[in-house]
């Protein structure tokens, strides 16, 4: 039974730890010290409502992609639960997920359309693949559906026979989007969908994504480090730092009055057309290592402009500051 009152996706305290090979592994394993663990995703809660668009932002290496792979169930979580439409999908092994009915409801648009399209598939083949494999379509039903989807993403029919190298960047992005929406998923995960595009095409694709969400009633999880784009497309934003969510809230509130020092630094690093480089908050150094982090200190300490001794004694947890707006910081900015 599908429970409509539940959020579409509910992720609770999910963790993914990767064991690392320790140097000098010639030493018998039992004698070696405990294997180091890379904490890629470390206790993340996330929920996406029906029709909601959520942005996930953070620097590379913060665990965004691992979190996405856990949600798309191409990777098994170490701990925690992942519920989709009220059903637990976190316990289904990744290797079996392709055969469960939820598989076709979670789809993904990848970052670089050139890398994520099969160079030997025409646009038609690419869009047909999910329809054949998961939609059980064939013959005229299949080709009718392909043409309907091409129309939906505003792709001229005559381009369907072309290979990726014969298409422009914008058209390749449309093929990638068409493949993802072909089965009318309820959750669409977009990984930097416009990062490889020129500004002139980017606007068109963003409009297309906004239209599709409305037409098909999809929910979006929008992964990006371009905060200006997240602001345009998302209702809610989650900011991730070293495996943890440090701030989450309504997009407007987070962008206008960020409460976590990291969010403020991220926002101030966006170049603006007004040329405001002087107001920038600089982050010194690199993030601390995600390998066996000290559980007793804030992970942002050391780079944080507001860091104090208290930050080295306990790790802050997410605290609700305003309705729907939570921050994990001992010294949050005032609203």
């Amino acid at each position: 039974m599908i429970d409509d009152t539940q959020p579409l996706l509910q992720v609770e305290q999910v963790r993914k730890l990767f064991p690392l090979k320790t140097a000098g592994s010639l030493v018998p394993l039992r004698a070696a010290r405990r294997t180091a663990l890379l904490h890629a995703v470390d206790g993340v809660d996330l929920s996406i409502g029906r029709g909601e668009s959520v942005g996930l932002v953070g620097e590379s290496g913060c665990g965004k992609s691992t979190l996405v792979r856990l949600i798309t169930r191409t990777l098994d979580p170490t701990e925690g639960s992942i519920r989709f439409r009220g059903e637990d999908i976190g316990g289904i092994p990744a290797s079996r997920f392709a055969r469960v009915p939820q598989r076709k409801l979670i789809q993904m648009v990848f970052q670089d359309p050139t890398d994520s399209l099969n160079p030997r598939y025409t646009a038609r083949d690419t869009i047909a693949e999910p329809l054949r494999l998961l939609g059980n379509l064939s013959g005229t039903a299949l080709s009718d559906r392909i043409e309907a989807i091409a129309a939906l993403v505003q792709m001229p029919r005559e381009l369907l026979g072309r290979f990726p190298h014969q298409l422009s960047g914008g058209q390749k992005a449309r093929v990638g989007i068409a493949r993802a929406v072909a089965l009318e998923p309820s959750l669409l995960i977009l990984d930097e969908p416009t990062a490889a595009l020129d500004v002139s095409v980017q606007a068109v694709i963003l409009h297309l994504l906004a239209d599709l969400r409305e037409k098909l009633g999809m929910s979006y999880l929008f992964v990006s480090h371009d905060l200006n784009i997240v602001r345009l497309l998302c209702d809610r934003v989650m900011v991730m730092y070293l495996g943890r969510i440090v701030e989450s809230g309504p997009a407007r509130q987070v962008f206008e009055a960020p409460r976590h020092p990291y969010t403020r630094a991220l926002l101030s690093a966006i170049p603006g057309l007004g040329g405001e480089a002087s107001r920038r908050i600089r982050l010194e150094g690199d993030p601390t290592s995600p390998v066996d982090p000290d559980p007793g200190r804030c992970r942002f300490h050391g780079r944080c402009p507001k860091g104090q001794d208290a930050c080295t004694r306990s790790s802050p947890s997410l605290v609700q500051m305003a309705p729907g707006h939570a921050v994990a910081c001992h010294f949050p900015e005032s609203a």
Partner: protein, 324 residues
């Protein structure tokens, strides 16, 4: 405005490429200048010829490319007519370039410290006993933590931001008077991008070095450049001081480019796209104004040569028959 002789002055430069598909008219009648210590942004969609322009100026066009005319005077020498040995002396020592994707531009199987020494050994008279020390100093100057240890690192062992710093260290090792940075922060995180750009700006100020920033990110150009040159399909369409360009763009393409760039305060509805595509530069019937086929202000006269050039007050110039 600097009335002294500019550091680099490009006049009516043209470049074409011979390909199997025909002759690509990559650059036509390009003119602009860069003053000493000035930071100039070159912006436009990819494919507008920004990189090719500087490959031509620095004499590193690939074999299919040919300079069809014009001059590029740098420190009194016309680089277009300079001999190969003269160009080799200038590249690396007087004018350096950093490329996008530092991981590809660095030698993957040579320690980064040695890559810096290579430049010093080629272009300066540093005694070989001092090379190592100078290389470590160069690493420290771009604020690489623990330079003695990083001297021995290979590019794959370093993050994208650190690799870009190594590229900068190599480019600046001989204190050039001109640095060409070709999309130096593409693929880097915003926070890393900010740090790399601040570093370039600071080093440029310390050394009174002129910087050319090639980018498609208008925000980046707005923040870091004194003056901006807008290119479209191998033409310079507008040149103006940064604040003036954003406050009063005169070329319809510049105005469109500004309107497509998301920024704080814009919403999805106000975000307009630029209609159409860059024209195919292999065409023999390219109109005089290469933007005219995408332009809502176009008139039949826009296709006729010569391309209109208007002086829009002092340092602001625009190549349009009916500017905004």
């Amino acid at each position: 405005m600097d009335t002294r002789v500019p550091l680099l002055s490009v006049e009516s430069l043209g470049v074409e490429f011979r390909t199997r598909g025909g002759i690509v008219h990559a650059l036509e009648d390009i003119s602009f200048s860069v003053g000493k210590g000035e930071t100039v942004g070159i912006v436009g969609e990819s494919g507008s010829g920004q990189s090719v322009l500087f490959y031509a100026v620095l004499g590193i066009l690939d074999a299919a490319g040919r300079i069809t005319g014009g001059r590029a005077v740098f420190g009194g020498l016309d680089l277009v007519r300079a001999s190969a040995p003269e160009l080799e002396e200038i590249r690396g020592r007087e004018a350096a370039m950093i490329f996008q994707n530092p991981r590809v531009a660095l030698n993957p199987i040579r320690k980064v410290g040695h890559q810096i020494e290579d430049v010093l050994a080629r272009h300066t008279s540093t005694p070989s006993a001092d090379l190592r020390r100078r290389a470590i100093e160069a690493l420290a100057s771009v604020r690489i933590p623990d330079p003695e240890r990083r001297y021995h690192a290979y590019p794959f062992e370093l993050s994208g931001g650190l690799c870009q710093r190594i590229m900068i260290a190599i480019a600046l090792a001989c204190t050039p008077s001109l640095l060409v940075a070709d999309e130096p922060t593409t693929g880097l995180d915003v926070t890393t991008q900010a740090a790399v750009m601040d570093l370039i700006g600071e080093l440029a100020r310390q050394r009174n070095m002129a910087t050319v920033l090639i980018t498609h990110d208008l925000g980046l150009a707005a923040e870091h450049c004194d003056r901006i040159v807008v290119m479209h399909a191998g033409h310079v369409v507008e040149t103006a001081p940064t604040a003036e360009l954003f406050a009063h763009p005169r070329h319809p393409y510049t105005a469109r480019l500004i309107a497509t760039t998301p920024h704080a305060g814009s919403d999805l509805r106000s975000l307009a796209a630029i209609p159409g595509y860059l024209p195919d530069l292999r065409r023999s019937d390219l109109p005089a104004c290469r933007f005219s086929e995408r332009c809502e202000r176009a008139e039949p006269a826009c296709g006729e040569r010569p391309l209109a050039r208007l002086d829009a007050g002092g340092v602001h110039s625009v190549a349009c028959r009916s500017p905004l």
